[in-house]
Symmetry: C2
Subunit: 176 residues, 2 copies
DNA sequence: CGAAGATTGTTGTCGAGGTCAACAATGTCT
DNA sequence: AGACATTGTTGACCTCGACAACAATCTTCG
């Protein structure tokens, strides 16, 4: 495909068409081109839970990333560190299953965390295939810091959602 | 990097170490390798709304994609079609802004929808830069079908979440 | 025991999306 | 008229999810 910046507009179709007469035309039919829609109708999206869940999820993650930017920990990395820290010695398959991510994806994530000196993959003494996952000392320290920042992020959600709505959502989703 | 399938395991460290004596050792220290964790501790993730929101969002989208697979409409495409259908003539910038996606991203999505004959980009009569977005006849038909399937998807959420929780979540998130 | 099958960690590859920068055409403001 | 903003567009990069294939290692069962 040739690198054309903007389809160079073949010809100029008669510009200067109708200009909206000062006397309002009684709304004959739907206006062909809106000028400034002011408010846009969401249509049936208003009755789709997935739409709103998606919106708030994106919003929360963006805030989380911004808060944890100083230590460069993504939401996914945070969840991995938390689970390993609370379940020392678990395997990659177990970790991937509980977090709902692919084993292949987790491999590359751990590869990075290993190189950053936060996690370790020790050979399992019982099963030659497994790796026993652990946090290094540095990893534990980093996790503590991450949890502090994450708690601040969480506290920041309250004003946005309202304390009542926040409590309600957390409870409803945790039991879902 | 050389294509090595699995780090060929340099040497075999003394296999057959401790085998967990029948007499329980009074829990000297943390067990070095777990056998079957049965239940895994989520740690502080239990108090992070983002974790649960993410989980349910992934679940809902997967179900949506599966339901709409027969007509090959993704959640993002669905939202685009719905908004265009409910706001004929709006511009790409407006659409991108209301859905919270990048203008650049929307361009390629519309490029695809155009080629599938579902949407049109008409030149705006008032502003030479804008495109007035519209659904074609085929697009309107496709949207109706998509809405039927999407409604079935939505109805399928009720048994999963419980009618009460569903209503509660939708209401809380819509007003958030 | 030993062959067949399942599990675990790994790499490669593909595609969908988000992000950012640059750009041409057009509109607006002073 | 010139400076500036907006709109649509392309290109490039990166993250992430999904699959397929594979070597090493259990597990099962004849």
């Amino acid at each position: 495909m040739p690198p054309a910046k903007r389809p160079p507009k073949k010809a100029k179709p008669a510009r200067k068409a109708a200009k909206k007469p000062a006397t309002l035309p009684l709304r004959k039919s739907a206006p062909p081109t809106r000028v400034s829609p002011a408010v846009i109708d969401l249509g049936v999206l208003n009755v789709h839970l997935g739409y709103f869940v998606r919106r708030i999820q994106v919003w929360i993650f963006q805030d989380f990333i911004r808060r944890l930017a100083p230590i460069d920990i993504s939401p996914a990395q945070f969840s991995v560190l938390v689970i390993i820290g609370a379940n020392e010695g678990l395997s990659q398959s177990e970790l991937a299953a509980t977090l709902g991510i692919e084993r292949a994806r987790l491999v590359r994530m751990l590869h990075l965390l290993d190189r950053r000196g936060l996690t370790e993959r020790l050979p399992s003494s019982a099963d030659g295939r497994r790796h026993a996952l652990r946090l290094t000392r540095a990893g534990q320290a980093q996790l503590r810091q991450a949890q502090t920042l994450a708690a601040q992020h969480e506290a920041g959600l309250l004003p946005k959602l309202g304390a009542e709505r926040y409590r309600l959502l957390l409870e409803a989703l945790r039991e879902a």
